[in-house]
């Protein structure tokens, strides 16, 4: 260094050790991996959950199957209209398809867990009860009796 003369005689700033940075990020990563769950479906209906102060937590998320009910999102409205529709997995379905859906969900669970299966009805607060009554009747026919009306706790408790 010194052979280049005095003009270059600045002290070099030691490089910051960034080896622990990866540890920190990995820790964050594990935190998120543990606390979150994979989003399995894309929402094709708009669901604004109703409020209920007495709502309880869903115990076994892995045993829940979801029935979304609401108006289709903007990009699907020219195709499906603005009436409330049922979404199972990734597509719009009718009430008659619930039977197959429940059967498929049951099939994917282990024998012992089937009795604990919960069907979560995730409906928009503005839908009419008619469609929900139809869904409920169909669920009774498939003997999927454990249901949950998904709701959110009001912000001010």
């Amino acid at each position: 260094m010194s052979k280049f003369g005095g003009s270059n005689n600045k002290k070099e700033v030691p490089a910051m050790t960034s080896s622990s940075l990866s540890d920190i990020v990995f820790m964050l990563l594990f935190f998120f991996m543990v606390t979150t769950q994979l989003r399995d479906t894309e929402n094709k209906v708009v669901v604004k959950l109703p409020e209920a102060s007495q709502s309880v937590k869903l115990e076994r998320k892995d045993l829940a199957s979801y029935i979304n009910i609401g108006t289709p999102t903007l990009q699907y409205q020219n195709q499906y209209g603005t009436d409330a529709r049922i979404q199972l997995n990734d597509s719009f379905k009718t009430v008659d398809d619930i039977r197959d859906f429940i059967a498929a969900e049951r099939e994917s669970m282990s024998e012992g867990d089937r009795q604990f299966m919960t069907t979560v009805i995730k409906a928009d607060e503005d839908v009419r009860m008619g469609i929900i009554t139809d869904v409920k009747q169909e669920l009774r026919r498939c003997s999927a009796l454990k249901i949950m009306y998904q709701a959110r706790r009001p912000a001010t408790d």
Binding site: S18, S22, L29, M33, Q37, K61, M129, S143
Partner: protein
């Protein structure tokens, strides 16, 4: 001795980038929000071959809560607001003065507690096809709130603690002492009117 070569340190600066990438992937594809809601058990579908037996439930043991298509509420025989429903249900289920028009109680032996007069009251919830889901959930919520408050009262009286702080066995006892009898009516009953 002097010619001992130094092992060059591995460049680890990109590990952080890789980890960040993974982190972003998980942030995008997962959801965190815990799901909450109101749990219910639907009654099983009656067998078609089986003759429908009229369940003889004494009239005093039933309170009918109706919601019409304009989201107006009728409990028992009087129209009311959702905010009044909770007290009405609490009075109905607890029947503190043993009123002959309110549900009767039967002494039931609860394991681990002893005798307790359990109310035979049933709440029958009926709705119209045009009722909004919003109103329906609001009513369901009030019903649950009434029962939860009764269980809380039971817990305070017997254990001096709110219901949520009881042990699991004590919660079971409270659940048996104040059962959640909400019947969601068959839709055919609804369409008639």
């Amino acid at each position: 001795m002097a010619s001992k070569k130094k092992v060059p340190a591995m460049n680890t600066s990109s590990t952080a980038d890789i980890a960040f990438l993974l982190l972003c992937y998980f942030l995008m594809t997962t959801t965190m929000g815990s799901q909450t809601g109101l749990s219910r058990r639907l009654p099983p579908m009656p067998d078609q071959n089986q003759k429908v037996e009229d369940q003889k439930v004494n009239r005093r043991n039933i309170i009918v809560v109706k919601i019409n298509s304009a989201d107006r509420l009728l409990a028992g025989s009087e129209p009311m607001d959702v905010s009044q429903l909770k007290d009405k249900i609490k009075e109905f289920l607890s029947n503190p003065a043993d009123d002959p028009t309110l549900p009767e109680k039967t002494m039931t032996d609860i394991e681990g507690y002893g005798q307790y007069p359990v109310s035979k009251g049933v709440i029958s919830l009926q709705n119209d096809r045009g009722t909004s889901y919003h109103a329906y959930i609001a009513v369901q919520n009030e019903l649950v709130k009434a029962i939860d408050e009764l269980r809380d009262e039971f817990a305070f009286k017997n254990y001096g603690k709110p219901y949520l702080n009881l042990t699991e066995e004590q919660q079971d006892i409270a659940k048996k002492a104040i059962p959640q009898n909400i019947s969601e009516a068959e839709p055919k009953d609804v369409s008639k009117k």
